[in-house]
Symmetry: C2
């Protein structure tokens, strides 16, 4: 079969923007944190070109928030991640790999500090809420943990500043990367963060209250008509070019942050109290034996990767590709995979076993964009 | 838009049977525990009629197993559920509501006791693994918790005994309801349990090792040709008629087991050590103020429920419908919902706000089948 249909029920939750998304040109969805996430509007390639030139509004409500409140909130947050949060201030939103006791990735959320005793953890596709609730119960921490009615809406693309400034005011231009400001919309203050799952720049607006969803969506589209604003979504091609990892695709509980190339977000020595510290201190010293790399896969356009493609070097298995797409801008199949250290140097030639046959490929230390 | 397409990636995991399912007449999927779950083959109605008369093979690999091993396994299992597991024996598989510290449902798995210090928890759609790992870490329990390579394959329908007997031997007929036997297939022993997500009878075979998936699938189809065996899946209509609840659809973390009509699976007084015991002891005494009911909704066939339909009685909000489908056998729209005690008596007339307008409906204490 080719692309299957998706059965939608209450369990694949709607978002505050679903009616607007459905009324537009949406073609396909995935399910992410038990919620609908659009994946294609015009076509993956049309969306890609438009994203790199204009501005898009993305329903990323599926980046659910876990709110952690209470006297032990700061202690718990540091338990969750090997990133040192000792000097984290309000107004910051930090990318925080979160691991289990063996150092295996459980999620790679963005953590927002809202107050000394209040955080939001904006999660990738796993029920991190359950891990946090389990820890809190087991350790008798004085915190409340819950999923509030907060739905991020991303504004991405080179014209994002212009669009968001028209709705939230010129001060949005001063928001630094991975910082947020509290800005008013219809009399309520929303977190407006300079962040997002693309390399094209932009913002994520944490819509605090479902009732604000459609008014904000409509305000953005009304304000951006001359900017050719369109509904969009995380773009498969662009995110692979940018080597933006996807939890569940490019990394799982099998992998340490170091394998995922996220070592720079780990200050395990300083992150006293973090779960998995013993395991990660060792990995930090010895280094991983395999690591995330970008690859270019030769030949014509492949069917996008929907599983694991084995990678071979000198006839031996040396890794796997977990995401791939045809890149119009680079005129090759771009890919993300985990490669053993024997073959991870820049420019190494390997072979990838794809559903369309064996293909030669080149390993890249850096991302494409 | 009508039914959207589903984008399939590694994150929406394939199963050992996906190639076989795709090679058949599958029409649609959902994503369940980050894994593909087929939802329609011929049509929901065709599948329904066939299930009630013949036998189907269902890829329910998405019922992932959580394996709990170690000296504290028994203690932990009792912590997870208000069902009294004190007398649970090997060979049993028990339906076990699992709750958080407030008594809110986290999952409604089937728990299998494989040995005194080894259990499988066969989960509905939430990362219960994360809850168990968090508890185990916080409480420093001596257990290992993991997701093994075990994928259930369900054989459901009135001819299930005949089909399974042809592949696993006549002794399958002696397996009692919610019991299992270890039976050989290709030299390995598999859990064969009399259970499944339909009221038509049948088995779930816990395929322990992905390599056995296609051989077992093929053996069942070869053995059942004259029984008109077909690929199938949990059927929306049949499961609503049978009032088989779906976690995420009919109940969430908001609900206690008592609200879900699962009070008979709670022996909270005896379940010493279970998380949420304090909260549930109170609920057990006072009873819930709303509870799961079946409903029949008048008029012609409605679009199946994909969200929450408010229920009104005497002009006031008295509940919600969370699942519905047109039943050919009962010639009405069958539904499942949560109804306040003022209106939950058998035969009470209420109104349901559907996308196709307000409809009269009747509340039923018992399920249809």
């Amino acid at each position: 079969m080719s692309v299957p249909l998706l059965s939608v029920t209450r369990r694949t939750r709607r978002t505050p923007f679903t009616d607007r998304v459905n009324a537009s040109s949406v073609k396909a969805y995935t399910v992410y944190n038990h919620m609908l996430l659009p994946t294609v509007f015009g076509s993956v390639e049309d969306d890609y070109h438009h994203l790199k030139r204009n501005v898009q509004v993305w329903d990323v409500s599926c980046e659910r928030q876990i709110e952690i409140r209470g006297p032990d909130a700061g202690r718990l947050i540091q338990m969750l991640t090997p990133r040192d949060l000792g000097s984290m201030t309000m107004g910051q939103c930090l990318y925080t790999p979160m691991v289990d006791e063996t150092g295996g990735m459980l999620n790679d959320p963005v953590t927002l500090k809202l107050a000394e005793d209040r955080y939001w953890v904006s999660v990738a596709d796993s029920d991190l809420l359950f891990w946090i609730k389990g820890l809190a119960y087991g350790l008798r921490l004085e915190i409340d943990v819950d999923e509030p009615d907060v739905s991020p809406l991303a504004i991405q693309g080179p014209k994002a500043d212009d669009l968001v400034a028209r709705v939230f005011g010129e001060e949005v231009r001063d928001i630094r990367f991975f910082r947020y400001a509290m800005l008013p919309f219809e009399g309520r203050h929303l977190v407006v963060a300079r962040s997002g799952y693309s390399k094209q720049g932009g913002f994520e607006i944490y819509v605090d209250g479902s009732d604000l969803g459609e008014p904000l969506w409509d305000a953005l589209f009304a304000a951006g008509e001359d900017l050719d604003v369109r509904p969009g979504c995380p773009n498969l091609i662009e995110r692979i070019e940018a080597r933006l990892l996807s939890y569940g695709n490019d990394m799982t509980r099998e992998n340490t942050p170091h394998e995922c190339g996220l070592g720079r977000f780990c200050q395990t020595q300083q992150a006293i109290g973090c779960v998995g510290r013993d395991a990660l201190l060792r990995v930090a010293v010895e280094g991983p034996v395999r690591q995330i790399r970008s690859l270019s896969i030769n030949g014509d356009a492949l069917t996008p990767c929907s599983g694991i493609w084995p990678v071979f070097g000198g006839g031996k298995r040396v890794g796997r590709v977990t995401s791939s797409a045809w890149s119009p801008d680079f005129n090759t199949n771009v890919a993300i995979g985990m490669i053993r250290m024997t073959h991870w140097d820049d420019g190494t030639t390997v072979e990838v076993e794809t559903p369309d046959g064996m293909r030669n490929a080149t390993v890249h230390e850096e991302s494409y964009i």
